[in-house]
Every structure is written in C-alpha cells, then in structure tokens.
Amino acid sequence: MASLVRSWIPLLILQSFLVAVAFGSKEAEQFSEALLLKPLPDRKVLAHFHFENRAPPSNSHGRHHHLFPKAISQLVQKFRVKEMELSFTQGRWNHEHWGGFDPLSSMNAKPVGVELWAVFDVPQSQVDTSWKNLTHALSGLFCASINFLESSTSYAAPTWGFGTNSDKLRYGSLPREAVCTENLTPWLKLLPCRDKDGISALMNRPSVYRGFYHSQRLHLSTVESGQEGLGSGIVLEQTLTVVLQPETTSVETNMQPSWSLSSLFGRKVVGSCVLAKSSNVYLQLEGRLGHESKNVDTEIEAHKLWKNADFDLSLKPDRVLRESSGLLFIFDIDKSSDSEPFDLGLNWKLPSKWSCQQAPLQASRFLMGSGNERGAIAILLKATESQEKLPGRELTDGRCTIKANIFQIFPWYIKVYYHTLQIFVDQQQKTDSEVLKKINVSPSTDKVSSGMLEMMLELPCEVKSAAISIEYDKGFLHIDEYPPDANQGFDIPSALISFPSHHASLDFQEELSKSPLLSSFKEKSLVRSYTEVLLVPLTTPDFSMPYNVITITCTIFALYFGSLLNVLRRRIGEEERFLKSQGKKTGGVKQLLLRLTAKIRGRPIEAPSSESPAAESSFLSTKLIFKIILIAGAAAAWQYFSTDK
C-alpha cells in the first residue's frame, strides 16, 4: 500500500504541474503562415512569405514549447533581447519601381548583406557584452559571419537616427556577407513545418535565389505580460521577400507577363501546414481602383474584380479587400489537397501600366574624388513625382517642410572630417542652421570604434534635390588588418534615410480578421530607405615586404648610430697612430686601398712614414710564417683525427 502511494505521489505532482502550466498560459502558442504576391510595374513579381510564431507569456520560462523554436526563446532569455531584427539580403531594392512608401518596402527593403539590430533589456553597462554574445550565438545559429559584428569597430549605438529611440540599441551591418542557401536552411528550421509542408514548401532554392532581390528577415519582439510572475511572450516574425521575373512567352514588351505559382517557383502548394492557425495567400494589385465600381456587394461585381477585361485569376478569391490604392485578393489554402493543389495564376489580357507609391525623396549615395588619399561621400536626395500627394507634410513657421533623417556609419578607416559637411538644396549651398535641424556625431576612433552620423534635415516641400557631402581621408592599415582580397576595396555600410513625419500603412476599408500579415501592414511604419553600399579602394602596402622593410629600416638606424658614434669617438692622435701602423705593413695594393678608403672617408691621407725598418718587417714575416705553420699543423691534426675514424 505504502509503495503504491509512494509510486503515485510523483505522478500526482506531475499532473498538478501540467495542469498548472495549462491554466497558467491563457493562450496557446500560435503559428500562422501567409504569402503575399504582388505584380510589380517593371514586369516582375514580388513574393513575400510571412510566418509568425507567437509564444504567449508563461511562467514556464519558455522551457516547454510546442511550436515556438527553442533556440530563439533561449536566445531571448539568455541575452534579454527586447527586440531584434536580423536580415540577410542579396540584391538591391528598386525604390523607383517596387515602391517606397508602402509597409512592405519600408519593412523589407534591406541593405545588402547582413543587418542586425537589437534592443536589450539589461543595464546600460552590459549592453555591449550582451551584443557581443548575441552576435556569436546568431552566427552559430545562421551559419553566417555575424560574429564580425562583435568588434566595436563594426557596430554603433544610434540615438535617434535609426527611428527607434533607445539607448540600449545596437546596430551593425556587414555589407560584404554573401547570402546563400546555407543561411536559408537554418532559418527554415525555425518553422514548425520547415519547408516540407504548407506555404514554405514553395521555397524551391533555385527559383528563390534566381530572383533579382531576396531578403530573409527575422524579427522578434518580446511582449510584456504585465502580470507578476509571468515571463514575457515572444513574437517571432520571419519573412522572405523575393522579387522574381516570370518567364514570359509573349513578344509584346508592354504586356505584363502572366504567371502562376508553379511557373514562378516550380512547385505548387499542397495543403497548409497543419500546425498553422491560418494560412493564406494574398494577391495585391496596385492601381486597380478608382474607375472600378464602388459596390462590391453583388456577386457579379465581385466576380468582375477577379475576372475582367484586364486580367483574370485562375482561382476564385475567398475575399476581396479594398485599400486606398489597390485591391487585395485573399485565398485560403486549407481547401487544397493533393488531388487539387493550390496553384494561383494571374493572366493578363491587356497591357496595363501603373506606378508604385514612392517615398517623398529618393536617396542615392556616391563617392567623389579620385586617388587613394582622400575623397568625399555625397548623399543625394531627389524629389519623386508622388511627393506632392503624400501626407505627412508639416508646417513650421508657416513653411511646408519635409523631415528626413540620415543615419550613417563610417568604418574607422574612413576618417571623416565633419567640419567639411556641406548641404546643398537645389544646387545652392545652405548654412547648417537653415536646413539642419538636429545633428549627432560620434567620431570614430582609430582601430577602436566606428564613427556615426545622425542628421535631421528639414527641407522645404518644393525642394527638387538636396545633396549632402562630407570629406574624408582614407586610412592606412597595418598589413594584418587587410582582408585577403585587399585590392578589392572596403565597403561602407548603407546609409539609412528615414522620413519621421511620413508613415506608411495600408488602410483597409473593412475590419479584418486577425491575419498577422495584414495587421502588420496596418500598423504605421516609418518610411525608410537604404542607400547603396559604397566600395572604397584603400591603398595597400606591399604584402611581401615585411622582412625587407625591417632590415632596411634597421640598417638606417645602424648607419645613424654607428657613423655618428664613430665621428664622436675618433681622436686625431689615435687616427694618426692608426694610419702610421697601417702604413708600416702595407704593400702596394694595400696602400692603394688605404688611399681609396681615405678618399671615401673624406680625410686627407697621412703620408706613411718613410722609414720602414727592415728588421721589423722581417719580424712581421716570421710572425706570419709562424701563424701559417700553426694553422697548417692544426689542419693536419684535424685531417689525421678525422680520417682515423
């Protein structure tokens, strides 16, 4: 009996614990997947995969997860990450054709290479340590050289220029990082269904990496529960944005290419991921509103939306949403099965043209000057056509202004002269007080920290172009500091241009179900755009020279030390005596040599004393003969002993 009780007790405890866990977490972990497809005006198609994984606040300290990746929750708990975003990007976002003023572009247009920023929930003094540990952990997790961001020369602590105001924010980027499938695989591992099922099954590597642009992003934020004793919840958002060129057979150049999922990715969606709470496919068509009829209530009108004279969709959308600039078709893929796979297609019938909404100013950045000594960086902001229509203009002192934040990191070997900052508005130089509202500079320290420049410009609304230029000197590095391909040059990370008074959001006319993708689109996001990465060639020393340089320089020192000491040490009496003794034993050739050296030394030769006693010379010769005999004897002895053995 006792033994029975004893065996039951642990079970009871376990059960009560499980019950407590079940009740403690009010909501379960959720996973949802979505795919947004969007034809782009330049005959390309954008595919945006969006996966969201929510771990609700729990008191189990995240040890037990059903769907949520354990690696991420451990990361969050260990380094106390409040918010973090990591992106791997290849290719450049084309702001002109792909849009610059919608939530999609402001969130997913990322700089080339790796970009990482994180906000920590630790005391200020530990932020840098946490950052370093985090970079190492992420480096292992994603098979990328994120650990290079550990060094203080490669990251910065933006104060306000980045858009997130926090003193515990760290930002770093690696423009040179090559992004490939080895980074995608660990990223996919975090999904509950990996790429085996559901929407992620579309990610056929060759088709994904064939695109013009792909950016995989991982954004996580912790949600404070506000309850005592309860940990914080984590929201993990994983997106993959790909811009693909559909294969087209039509010869008409102004005709948009027709495409389907299978033609884009070479695969079809066969059912959703069973673990996902929702899995939807969205198709966004821009510039399709206005001339269309207002009422969508009738079935015919709704039908007209997806099958009309311009285009038709291969599947009937489950819902159609209207937002300010276009239409959004929603498809539910739960209904698809093996026999009836989901293969959405868009077939254009008539040539159609539209334009994307663009950011108020289009930014580009370039280098000026030639040579390897110095140069200048210029950032050019050009007004776009759509600038007049945009909201978010401000009136200050009766003037209409556009605010633009510029955030730029300079590696230390780009030695920036901040006093040479020049601002030109419409080709006229302006003083700082006119257009520069705020500026924050943290200069770089050689080999210790990178420099950072944050600027807030306040430009008049009617501005056509604004240019900022700043001069720099190129640094000279130690040979060990050059990368293996030193002559390729060094990359300056992208500058970030953001417009603090402009926010992009999609406002849907009807209230929507809780689709994570759409709710994230609905949130107001800061309009931001990254500039190009700049390649700065630096001078290289001769890498094969260290030994030569060391020996030659040391020779110079020896020359200095030796000759100066020689001059100081020499006394005239000694010299005469030396010359006399030299003259005694010199023959004809030796005399000539002596004369030559004296000439080289620049000293008048002391005439050798005329009287050279024969006795002395004979004595010298006997000495010489004695020496020769001695050496010969030694040689003979050596020979004898060595041959003996």
């Binding site: 200069p443 000279f476 040979i479 001769d542 020279m545 110079i556 200095y560 100066l564």
Partner: protein, 468 residues
Amino acid sequence: MAEEQNKKPCRFWIWASASVVFRLILISFPGNLNLSSRPEVSTPLTSIRRLAEGYWLKQASMSPYAGSMYHGSPLLLSILGPLTVQSIKGQPSHLLCSLVFVIADILSAMLLRGIGQKLQMAYGLNARLLGFLKSSRDKVILPCGDIAALVYLWNPFTIVSCVGLSTSPIENLAVVLALFGAVTRRVPLAAFGFVMATHLSLYPATLAIPIIIILGYGLDAPPIKLFLQTRSVENEKSSTSTVSKQAKSKQTTHLPFLWKTVAHFLFWVLLWSLYVLVLCALSLNKYGGLEEMFKRTYGFILSIEDLSPNIGVFWYFFAEVFDFFRNFFLIVFHVNVLFMLLPLVIRLKHRPCFLAFVYLAISSILKSYPSVGDSALYLSLWALFVNELIDMKFSFFLFCGYLGISLLSPVMHNLWIWRGTGNANFYFGNAIGYACFQIVFVVESVSAMLNHDRALRRSSSNHGEVKS
C-alpha cells in the same frame, strides 16, 4: 669698409621683405596650391585640416580629441581654431591662418638673426682672444645671423610649410624663441620657449641640455684648453712671476658653471609648465582633462598609431612589422633619440648652440611624424655656423640629395597614391633616401665641427711655437 657694413643690412632687409612678399603672393592663391594635403608638409600632428576638425568637435561640445583626428595642443586649438572658420569675403579661406604662419616665420627669422649676431660676436671675440684675427686679416667673419635668417626665409621647405598651412612654423618659432632667450640670457623667455616647444611637439624636450649649458657656461667657444694654452704661452713669454703662476693654476680649473642662472631657468620652466598645464586643463576640463590630452598628444607621438605615409621611415615599418614585435621596436626607435644625447654632450659641451642644432636634426630624422618644416628649422640653424662649418665635406652632394628627394617625393607619391602605377615601396625608398641624406648631413656637420676645433688647436699650438 663702413659703407659695406651699412650696405649689408640694407640688402638683408630687401631680401627678407622679398621673401615675405613672395609668401603673401603664394597664400593669396586659392586652395593653398594643394600644399596643405601633401604628406611631406602636413603630418597628423601639424595638419590644419585636423585642427579645424578638432575645433569643430569642440564647438559641437565634444572633446577635440574625439575621433583620432586632432593630436595637437589645446592652446593652439583655441588660438588657431577660430581663424579656420573665419574668412574674409572674397579672399581664399584660411587666409587669416596663413597670415599667422607668415608672421611666425618672420619672427623666427628675426630671432635667428639675433642669435646669429650674438654667435658672430662671440666668434669674433674668441678668435681675437686666440690671436687668429690679428694674424690672418684676410679671413672675414661671415654675418651668420643674416645668412641663417635668409636661409630660413628662403628655404623652400619653410615656404612650403608656411603656405601649406602646417603648424610647424609655430613649433619652430617656439624652439627658436627658446634658443634666443638662452643666447641673450633672458631666462624667462628661454623657459617659455622651451616649455611651449615641448608642449607643442615633445621632441624639443632634449633642448633642455643645450639651453642649460648655454646658461651655465656661456655661448659657443673653442675648447677651454685652447685658451689656457694661449694664455700660458703668453704668460711664459711675458714674465714668470708668482702672481701669474697663481693665476695659471686658477685657470686650469674649469670654467665656472652659473648654478644660479640655471636654477633660475629651472624655476621658470616649472612656472611656465604649470601655467600651460593649468590653461590646458581649463580648456579641456569637460573632455577628460589633462590625462586625455597627454594620451592623445604625447601618447599618439610615442605609439605611432597613424600609419599614413610621410617622409619618415616609421609609417611603413610599423605598417609591416609583426604585431608581436611592435612594442620592442617602438622602444628601440625612441630610445635611439636619447642614446646619442650623452656622447654628444661630452664631445660638444663647449658648443651648446651647435649641440642644439644636432639635437634638433636628430629628432627630425627619428621623429614619429616628420615633416619638411622640421628640416627647415635645422637647416637654418646649421647656417648659424657657416664660419665654423665652412670646410664641411659632401656639401654639394648633400645639396643635390636634398634637391633630388624633394623633387622625387611628390612624383613617387603621385605614382603610388593617385595613379596606382607604383606601390608603397617607391615612396618608402624615397623616405629611406631622405633619412640617409639627413644622417650624412648630421654626421658630416658634427665631424666638420670637431675638425674645426682640431684645426684651431693645431694652429694655436703652431702659433705658440712660432711665438715662443
């Protein structure tokens, strides 16, 4: 004779003012003729561009030393800084700065002239005492002050560093001021110049020894033995009384060392350095104070952090040397400056001004960040000793060497940095050549001076023999 004496200063003033006019013409060209960015002219320590950056940072309420840009004195920053941002309408920017440097150059030249006149007087006096002047009337004493001043004013190195807006004219002015103060026995002035020079560029700290010797023993003179010799010869010739014997025994003892003046000098050095430090601390008290200043100025000089090319040999050496040995070589190279101090003092203690020249030349060879401004200073100090060094060897060879280096250096730099057809070894080879020429120059000057002393001894002994 008197007419000629009048004519000479007149000619000097014409040439001096011509050099000033030449400078004014050069600085009125826009963009400083691109000289301010030449690595030969502006080093990380003397570049006006870096000074302007430091001033900007300070105006933006940041430490002027933030950002590894400025490594100079905070006092220079508060004097020259405002001038870098102000510009007269319609004139090239930095004109005011250039004017300051021109004034500094003129002052240095005038002070050099003062030093030279003193040295010339001393030379004449000594020659008369030793009895050379009476015997060889044909040997004219050259006006070394005028020559040195003109060499300083017309030296292309000086002109280039003045027009190229490097702060070395001011550093040179401080050094010359210290020497002038010592030569004219104005102790506070000497102490001020010495403290300022050391504060601005650290290496003139070695000048403490020559200045103390000048103040203690007096100006350059032939070795004391010679005087004793001639005196004794004369004494023997005139009479052999007990009084003179007593006097002779007194003379064999060393020249009196003026401890009081030296103590005075040291006191003033202490006072001035306290004053300078307080001023620096006041101007930097929000940005890390004196510790930061020493780390960013002297620390920067001693640890050779900046590897940008200059006409020295250190930049390439420390760009190439293995990190493991870096500290070792740093110590060895810096100690080399100090190693030679003692042997030179022992051998040249009767010629303290010449000793100062040798020290300056050595420090300009072994400097972390040398520029042509340093060469300009020691070349014009060399000209102070034209009387003594007139028999110097290899002078034509050295002249050609300096000329060739200053012509080749821009070419090599252009080939390497701008055209990309050459590599770093081209420019480094040039720097090595320059170092060699400088070394030969110093060694030959020292040897010529020693030979001059030998010749004096020989001729005085001959004299004595002839007289006896």
